[in-house]
């Protein structure tokens, strides 16, 4: 009974660490890794709840999330590399032509 509580707390902590990283870090690659931490925290939640509820829905959801995360990596790294080619920086504060 208590195992589920620990798992949910752990995933909430992981999610918070990821969210804090997105808000605090300035390197686009690190921000992206923090988003992956958040997604995996959600995966952990799904698996824990799936076990608690004795249903497979949560586990299937995790597969979908992993597939989508892989697609996001492909697009996201493509965008970051294309920016890096032009200006040799991945710091999000340096990428600021658009403002106002």
């Amino acid at each position: 009974m208590d195992a589920i509580r620990y798992l949910l707390i752990l995933s909430a902590v992981l999610f918070t660490i990821g969210a804090a990283g997105v808000l605090l870090r300035r390197n686009a690659l690190v921000i992206f890794m923090c988003i992956e931490i958040m997604l995996n925290a959600v995966n952990l939640t799904f698996i824990a709840l799936s076990r608690q509820l004795q249903s497979l829905d949560g586990q299937i959801f995790v597969f979908m999330v992993m597939a989508v995360a892989a697609a996001e990596v492909a697009i996201g790294l493509g965008i970051i590399v294309s920016i890096f080619r032009h200006r040799a920086t991945t710091d999000v504060d340096d990428v600021s032509l658009l403002k106002g």
Binding site: F61, I79, S82
Partner: protein, 481 residues
Amino acid sequence: MNIADVQVVSILPQMIMLAAALAVFLADLVWKDRKGIGLLALAGALAAFAAAAGMLAGSGAPTFQHMAAADRFALVISLVVSAAAVLALLISLDYVVRVELPAGEYYGLLLLAASGMMFLGAATHLMTLFLSLEILSIALYALAGIRTTDLRSGEAAMKYFLLGAFASAFLLYGMALLYGATGSTYLAGIAAAVPQKPADPMLIGGLALLLVGFAFKVAAVPFHMWTPDVYQGAPSSVTAFMSVGAKAAGFAALVRVLVTVFPALYAWWVWPVGILAVLTMTWGNLAALAQGNVKRMLAYSSIAHAGYILVGVAAGEAGVSGVLFYLMAYALMNIGAFAVLIALERAEADAAGVELARMSGLFHRRPWLAAAMTVFMFSLAGVPPLAGFFGKLYVFSAAVRSGLMVLAIIGVINSVISAYYYLRVVARMALAGPAEEVEPARCLGLSIGTGIAALGTVLLGLYPTWLFNLVQGTLAVLFGG
């Protein structure tokens, strides 16, 4: 399982859009004609539009394995999205050649995003909700950055991607908590379990995270930071499509979740949504006042319009038809306004949109183009009898009926503020002399797209009851599904 039981026909418009996207990707391999690929994409979008219209005219179709509904709500959203796709493709035909975008990728991703939006409007399961949202988002990230030679396009793509993925994580966490609280991933199953545990912290937490995720996607203040930069940096035709399509799909999913799954928790979500609406309207309008760049002004104006639509969302069940009406009206007038900007844009210098000065004296140079822009600006400002006015009227009157008088009053005040910056564009076109000698682009597709949008905006204003009858009572079916 028998193949006949799968009921693919209930997701026909989405499948046509998807098939068209794949056909465009394949055709691009062997066919190097930019215009031809554009016309192929246009044919696909028109077919999807026809399928949605035909299904709307026919009797109610079954759901797709309870994963996606083919109710009238979903079909109206399909209609709005495919109409937006048709208009966006029309105004892209010449633009893609002029600014040298890769045609196959551009048209294919646009259709892929459109199919994701249509699926999102139909989603009745957490997994379809998540997957369709990601299909549309990932396609739009790539579309925003498709102008790889332009730094601003890349910057727009990166900002959109990082904040979009961040928002997706929140949305997903919300879904996980809803699953944990109710034990179901079907919206109907969650809806059935909600009244039994109305104040379960896990349920409320899931709802709150879901609201945050959707607020990001529809660009509600204070989750709007990405919007102006992304809308300004992305190619104008992409901005036109995503400001309309992504908004329609995001609001469709938000309304379906809030109204069909959480009617029992109305007291919990009405004020958060109401506060979002007030912040979004007010901040969008105040920031738009200060913009000298018309494209960026339209970006802030799209935030303000998200605020007006949120007023309708806050009205709950009573506001559903108003929201649908507004989305259709907004699709016509906003794509039209961007079409005029595209006509005025030069290939290299104006990647970040045209300045207000460029509009000077447009009435003297291109009276028809200026007249169309006047219609769009008046409609966006909510001047009767144009589509935008009735959109606002239906949304605000729904709010009054639900006892949210404050929201309606703040909405009306905001409309008055917004009139200043919309009418400033019209005044520039009419009064000042030509500042720069830039010949606006002439192209058949652009003219047809602008014409249809302007005609639609006027006709919806003159005969609003037609569309209003169409969007009325989509909810009854929604509950039954």
